[in-house]
């Protein structure tokens, strides 16, 4: 009986599912751009470039994504006078800035890990710093970043559920709403939502694996087979 009611209401998840995916994709795009900008800046030799980026990264890593979400949604309009027409923008900004700050460490680390000889060779070839970054450093650093970025993309997907608490109508919000209606089982609805998130995480993971294989093939390196594991680099380092 309960199960029947749950199955009947499954089509209602369509639109909120698009919201969940939209929030995740939009904030992941923002995070990726920010990660590269901040990663290049924090890896810079110049103190004047490095310091502001470092402060930004430490600030956003240190202040809790949940608090940031509430701050951007309810405090920023008051303090800065910036009012979004849609609350969803505040959610995307909070998630994007937070995960951009975390992922910038991945970018910085991968760039720093490119062997010194490669840099010396680019100097010997008389490449400009920009050419060196674009033609030598990034093509080698990029495949190394993908597994860790994938781990962050999945964490970002999970964090996107938090936007439901500031009143954005995603699948977590819908499960709570339908679950309260008569004849519905809230537990089953939350269960459905968990499975949806798991499938989305699996999609991200599969896509990133394919991307990594392609990027490594470009360098003539075989991607190590990892099955359903947390990226070894993330497992070894943790995420503070």
């Amino acid at each position: 009986m309960d199960l029947h009611a749950v199955i009947e209401s499954l089509p209602r998840y369509g639109e909120p599912l698009l919201v969940t995916i939209g929030v995740t994709v939009a904030s992941a795009a923002l995070a990726l751009v920010l990660a590269f900008a901040l990663g290049l800046m924090t890896g810079s030799r110049h103190l004047a470039v490095r310091t502001p980026a470092r402060v930004f990264v430490e600030f956003f890593r240190g202040t809790s994504v949940v608090v940031q979400l509430f701050w951007f949604a309810f405090a920023m309009p008051v303090v800065l006078g910036i009012q979004f027409d849609y609350l969803i923008v505040a959610g995307v900004i909070a998630l994007g800035l937070n995960y951009g700050a975390y992922s910038s460490e991945v970018v910085r680390g991968a760039i720093a890990a490119v062997p010194q000889g490669q840099l010396e060779a680019s100097t010997a070839l008389n490449l400009t710093p920009f050419q060196r970054m674009r033609l030598v450093v990034l093509p080698q650093a990029w495949p190394e970043m993908i597994p860790s970025l994938c781990a962050f993309a999945i964490m970002l997907l999970k964090a996107s559920a938090l936007v439901s608490v500031i009143g954005i109508l995603d699948i977590t919000w819908l499960a709570g709403l339908i679950g309260k209606q008569p004849g519905q089982d809230r537990l089953l609805h939350y269960g459905v939502v968990l499975v949806i998130y798991f499938v989305l995480a699996w999609l991200i993971w599969t896509g990133m694996r394919a991307l990594e294989r392609r990027a490594k093939r470009g360098l003539g390196v075989d991607a190590k087979p990892v099955k359903g594991r947390l990226d070894p680099a993330v497992a070894a380092g943790g995420v503070g």
Binding site: E58, R61, K158, T172, L230, A236, G238, G240
Partner: protein, 223 residues
């Protein structure tokens, strides 16, 4: 409707935010113990446990790791308050869910620590005919702890910053305190969330720096 920053409101809201901060610390302590102990057992189970247990254990924690904490908190809280025992406190249920969620991360770090131990160590333990208890207790775990300490410390910091998620089930941490204050005084959003963020920063940054030092020290000690 609030119009801007007010020092008056800061003075009024701060005691409540401090109470919330203490609750965050208490949750972190309880959930942290669960995350470390359970994570350790899961890692040992995946590497040294009975073969029939390894795959289901790994799959279960993979599911926990890849689904949102928020939904896990909601589903467990619904189950306990509606079906199991309505007397269980939000603090206890929330801490348990948070601890189990982060055990899914710490177990991966412990497991990575076990896997990084050179094969020769295992072979030497076999050659010495050490009993299983001694292999783990005297050879594997001491080396694993050195390798995993910084990573697990980082997960605990990450967990600390996710405690506010528990406001959805009514744990009176900082976000819940700020919301309660707003409900009574119709102001305090700016001050409350700013104080919450700054307290998180003040508490987590020094620990994060210490963990980075630890990481570098262990990396240098040639392990």
């Amino acid at each position: 409707m609030q119009t801007g920053w007010s020092n008056e409101t800061v003075r009024e809201i701060f005691p409540a935010m401090w109470d919330g901060f203490l609750v965050v610390l208490q949750v972190t302590l309880v959930a942290g113990i669960i995350a470390v102990v359970l994570g350790l057992f899961v890692a040992i189970g995946e590497r040294g446990g009975p073969v029939w247990l390894r795959r289901p254990l790994s799959l279960a924690f993979q599911f926990i790791r890849n689904t949102p904490l928020l939904v896990q908190v909601l589903i467990v809280w619904t189950a306990t308050s509606l079906y199991i025992n309505p007397d269980w406190s939000a603090f206890a249920v929330g801490s348990a869910v948070l601890g189990v969620h982060y055990a899914s991360y710490t177990s991966e770090s412990f497991r990575a620590g076990i896997d990084a131990i050179p094969q020769g160590q295992w072979e030497a333990a076999t050659a010495l005919n050490l009993p299983t208890r001694r292999v783990w207790g005297a050879v594997v775990l001491p080396q694993m702890f050195r390798r995993s300490a910084a990573a697990v410390g980082n997960w605990i910091i990450a967990m600390f910053k996710e405690v506010p998620t528990l406001f959805v089930i009514g744990v009176m941490e900082m976000v819940a305190q700020a919301r309660a204050f707003q409900g009574q005084h119709y102001t305090g959003a700016v001050e409350g969330y700013t104080i919450a963020g700054l307290l998180f920063l003040a508490a987590s940054y020094p620990v994060a720096v210490a963990m980075r030092r630890l990481e570098i020290r262990f990396a240098k000690s040639n392990y």
